[in-house]
């Protein structure tokens, strides 16, 4: 019998605690599949952040550290500087990365820190009950923007991928989505590519993954996928913002 699809070895057997239909689960799997296919599980150290994905340290079947809110890129820097031969990734939500931890991620990128950041943008703070995040869309209702996000009060959503791509230290920056099978395939390629960039020692890589929060968006899981596609994609265009090609290494 040939296996068409089975869970990756880089995930433990623990069932996820995420809400039904929350796409954190898909993104976990894609990260684990990338680690499997590059055969780097035994030298990978992951950094879990503070947010719904805090228990990622239980789910990834690699050595893991749990970081304070927003500080995962600094923790990853400490690990990578101590063990330059290791593969280090962070897994962070949008409150964690784009709000409280924005300095850490910007400076990790500016230093060209040779780590991979998986950035899960679900346009809200999931864990604390769906509050406004820096990535919340204009007009989007959250528990701390009950009448919808107003520019006069909280300004505009931040496009992290575009912003970090302006820094010379970033080697690979992409934005992908997981709202349908074709995009999940694309996201998988992108995440694997980000790890390849790290393995080649090229510097900072980040994949921003647009993700759903059915619970706090107040939608059924399938509706949430549609909402992501219709509402988030116009604000957060998918694509490559900083490209690194293998040929660059061959050429040098």
């Amino acid at each position: 019998m040939r296996t068409v699809f089975a869970p990756p070895a880089s995930l433990t057997k623990d069932p996820f605690h995420y809400c039904p239909g929350c796409t954190h689960g898909i993104i976990h799997r894609l990260v684990a599949e990338a680690i499997d296919s590059l055969d780097i599980r035994e030298r990978t150290i992951g950094v879990a952040s503070v947010g719904c994905s805090v228990l990622a340290y239980q789910y990834f079947n690699t050595d893991m550290q749990q970081a304070a809110h927003g500080r995962a890129p600094a923790v990853a820097t400490g690990i990578k500087r101590a063990l330059p031969g290791s593969v280090v990734f962070t897994y962070q939500g949008d409150g964690d990365l784009a709000s409280i931890g924005i300095a850490e991620v910007i400076h990790a990128a500016a230093r060209g820190e040779n780590i991979t950041v998986v950035f899960v943008n679900n346009a809200c703070y999931g864990m604390t009950g769906g509050q406004l995040a820096p990535t919340t869309l204009i007009g989007q209702t959250t528990t701390t923007s009950p009448g919808g996000r107003r520019v006069e009060n909280t300004g505009y959503p931040i496009r992290m991928a575009e912003m970090l791509a302006t820094l010379d230290g970033s080697a690979y920056i992409a934005r992908v989505s997981v709202h349908d099978p074709a995009h999940v395939r694309q996201a998988k390629k992108s995440i694997q590519h980000a790890f390849e960039v790290q393995l080649a020692g090229r510097g900072f890589s980040m994949v921003e993954v647009l993700s759903t929060c059915p619970t706090n968006w107040g939608q059924k899981p399938v509706e949430a996928l549609t909402w992501l596609k219709e509402k988030m994609l116009p604000q957060y265009p998918l694509g490559l913002f900083k490209v690194w090609e293998r040929s660059e290494v061959n050429a040098s």
Partner: protein
């Protein structure tokens, strides 16, 4: 060449009945069952024949419920 038989396997206790797999299956093979699993959800079931092994359900399942195997038939 013989025909191909596709086997779907469900890790039923992990299923949260979110219906995402049901919504993406091009063959309308999947549905949520009537029974309740240990986590308290109506888990996915193979309601109809006709699975082509495309894998889309497994790709979209957030909870790693679905595994797919192919077997060469006689």
């Amino acid at each position: 060449m013989g025909s191909v038989v596709v086997h779907l396997r469900f890790d039923e206790q992990r299923c949260k009945g979110c219906s995402i797999c049901v919504s993406v299956c091009p063959k309308g093979v999947l549905a949520l069952g009537e029974h309740i699993n240990s986590a308290g959800y109506n888990p996915v079931v193979e309601a109809k024949q006709g699975c082509n092994g495309c894998g889309m359900c497994a790709w979209m399942c957030p909870d790693l419920v679905i595994s797919i195997y192919k077997e060469m038939g006689a």
